[in-house]
């Protein structure tokens, strides 16, 4: 089913490029940077929004407010690619209150794959050959140069879930294309 769900991309204004919306790999920072640099009205709206008690703009996740496209045709696609194991664990943390570890691994082995978007494979963006992947861990500066974005510090979850050796092996098998992409890169 996930194959039917099209990829999303943030177009970079004034550039012939776009950024793959690859969840759990810096999308919040990317969205904030895009808004700050290109969508000033939206930045003003976030500043002036009405917030509930205990919430403010620093906790605001702006991905939904950044224009996005489904088809990157004609644009170079920039992908910020994260260590798949770290990304998986981060996704588990993100979804832990409504998606149990058992359910995640059950979906993983179901043949249809994990249906939550945080777990979608990063390699799904490698479609046309017009994509360039950058490792989040050590190629962030190159990504910033290529995208023209200045990213803020990434959020990091505390108390991350742990995996057993056998679970880790399942994750490595499931994300083997992602590992290959991440290890080799294709800048």
């Amino acid at each position: 089913m996930s194959s039917l769900i099209h990829n999303l991309y943030f177009p970079i204004p004034e550039a012939n490029k776009c950024i793959a919306l690859n969840y759990k790999s810096g999308t919040t920072s990317i969205a904030r940077a895009l808004i700050a640099q290109f969508y000033l009205d939206t930045a003003k709206s976030i500043e002036n929004a009405h917030y509930p008690e205990g919430f403010d703009r620093t906790k605001f996740k702006p991905q939904g407010l950044v224009p996005h496209i489904n088809d990157p045709e004609g644009l170079e696609v920039l992908l910020l690619c994260r260590n798949p194991l770290d990304r998986f664990i981060s996704a588990m943390k993100e979804t832990e209150s409504f998606l149990s570890k058992d359910e995640i691994f059950k979906q993983m082995s179901s043949g249809e794959g994990i249906k939550n978007l945080h777990f979608f494979k990063q390699s799904r963006f490698m479609v046309t050959g017009n994509e360039r992947a950058f490792r989040l861990e050590d190629q962030l500066e190159v990504f910033e140069q290529e995208s023209g974005l200045k990213l803020e510090k990434f959020n990091s979850h505390k108390d991350k879930p742990s995996l057993t050796k056998s679970e880790e092996k399942l994750v490595r098998d499931y994300y083997k294309e992602d590992f290959k992409l991440w290890e080799n890169g294709n800048i």
Binding site: I5, I46, H50, F55, F60, L65
Partner: protein, 429 residues
């Protein structure tokens, strides 16, 4: 009464594949999504080309029909994929006025391969509604003598008639064949009182699913459990596009369609994009399975009237529909982002005056508020009272869930406190 010649033998070498039957005028085409193994076609359009009718563009588990190309007045079946499609289903004949004349379905077909192909069986099944045990189904090819379908099953008034392989052995690839199907009593004369539900050609060994070797593929269009349907680039004129066949994921794009109907279906995602000339979108009688159902309507042009749409879907992405004046989200729906898309969007509708969250809308999960905004932007007729009513409708939101009402009529005079007290972020400037 149509003229049904009784004298031309149709079996084997007696059929001349180079002599097409007289081509009747053809207009209107109607697709119905399918069970997981094929496509259904119930009427045909003149000079209409179908490119990329893909039942399931993804799964290699499912047989697919990629192109149905009507040229020179005949339905050309072009199966592709690996393995190629094995089925041609023609259904809902009664509503195909151009092709269902005086009780007889009459159309021309061009088949992709000889029937039966080497090593295959090939057969035809006619389904028809009847409560009369004496009712029979007949087939005539190229004006040949009527062939009586053998009885294979009956239930709920649906009868299956089986045309076995030897009667089809004279059909060759790439030639035009006139196919007539009708139901009758013992006289053999077409009966206007009975209704042919569908007929299908099996182009491969009967009942064998080439994809996994299992038998007994269920192809009943009435009780289908379809999954995927994708249609693009067609002009259906005034014909009805009926998506009632049971597909859970339906996409229709870049087409001119006047009427779309979904009844008794278990649709989970319907996406209509860039549809012109739309007059009616009818969901009367539809059902939706569980939460996470998605309705996506974008760039719909035409004086469309919506029937039965309110309260049906739990997640919507609607934009640029001039005729939409009100919308209701499904009761007890869960407002959540749809996979990698942000949640509910209802924007660019110049005449939209009311958005209601009927009953109880379950708030998006706290961990994911950013992906579940209610986007109501660019609705110049949605005033402050309407926004306040929508806020009232909502249940408590997870902290940070966004309601974006920028560029609505009511952005200047609504009461965002109603929503913020429930935990929502309201963006209005």
């Amino acid at each position: 009464m149509p003229d049904l010649p009784q004298t031309i033998p149709i079996s084997g070498e007696n059929v001349d594949p180079q002599i097409p039957a007289v081509l009747p005028p053809l207009d209107g085409l109607r697709f119905i999504p399918t069970p997981s193994n094929g496509g259904q076609l119930s009427s045909v359009a003149n000079e209409l080309e179908f490119n990329e009718l893909t039942i399931d563009p993804i799964s290699d588990r499912i047989i697919r029909v990629e192109s149905l190309n009507v040229s020179e007045g005949a339905i050309r079946i072009i199966p592709r994929g690996n393995p190629p499609s094995n089925y041609v289903i023609v259904s809902n004949l009664k509503e195909s006025e151009a092709l269902h004349k005086e009780g007889v379905f009459d159309a021309n077909f061009i088949f992709p391969r000889n029937l039966p192909s080497p090593g295959t069986v090939g057969r035809m099944i006619i389904l028809f509604k009847s409560n009369e045990p004496s009712t029979k189904a007949f087939l005539s090819i190229n004006g040949g003598a009527p062939i009586e379908a053998s009885y294979i099953n009956q239930g709920e008034g649906i009868v299956g008639g089986n045309i076995v392989a030897q009667h089809l052995s004279g059909i060759y690839a790439n030639a035009v064949y006139n196919i007539r199907v009708w139901v009758s009593d013992d006289t053999g004369e077409p009966s206007l009182a009975e209704e042919v539900v569908s007929f299908r050609f099996d182009l491969s060994p009967a009942g064998i699913d080439h994809t996994d070797g299992k038998t007994s593929i269920e192809m009943n269009p009435i009780n289908s459990e379809g999954q995927f349907f994708d249609l693009a680039g067609v002009d259906l004129g005034d014909s009805l596009l009926d998506l009632s066949g049971g597909s859970q994921f339906c996409t229709v794009r870049n087409s001119k369609i006047s009427r779309i109907s979904i009844r008794d279906s278990s649709i989970r995602r319907l996406s209509l994009t860039n549809i012109t000339g739309l007059k009616s979108l009818d969901f009367t009688g539809s059902s939706v399975v569980g939460s996470g159902s998605v309705l996506e309507l974008k760039d719909i042009q035409g004086p469309v009237t919506f029937y039965g749409i309110n309260g049906l879907f739990s997640s919507i992405r609607i934009s640029n529909i001039e005729s939409l004046t009100s919308f209701e989200l499904k009761e007890n729906s869960r407002s959540e982002g749809t996979a990698n898309e942000s949640g509910n969007l209802l924007s660019d509708c110049p005449n939209l005056k009311s958005v209601r969250a009927v009953g109880h809308i379950i708030a998006p999960h706290e961990s994911n508020p950013a992906y579940s905004p209610f986007t109501l932007t660019d609705n110049p007729s949605l005033d402050g009272d309407a926004l306040d009513q929508f806020y009232e409708d909502l249940s408590d939101g997870a902290s940070g869930t966004v309601i974006d009402v920028r560029r609505t009529l009511g952005a200047a005079n609504h009461n965002p406190t109603i929503a913020t007290n429930k935990g929502y972020v309201v963006i209005d400037s």
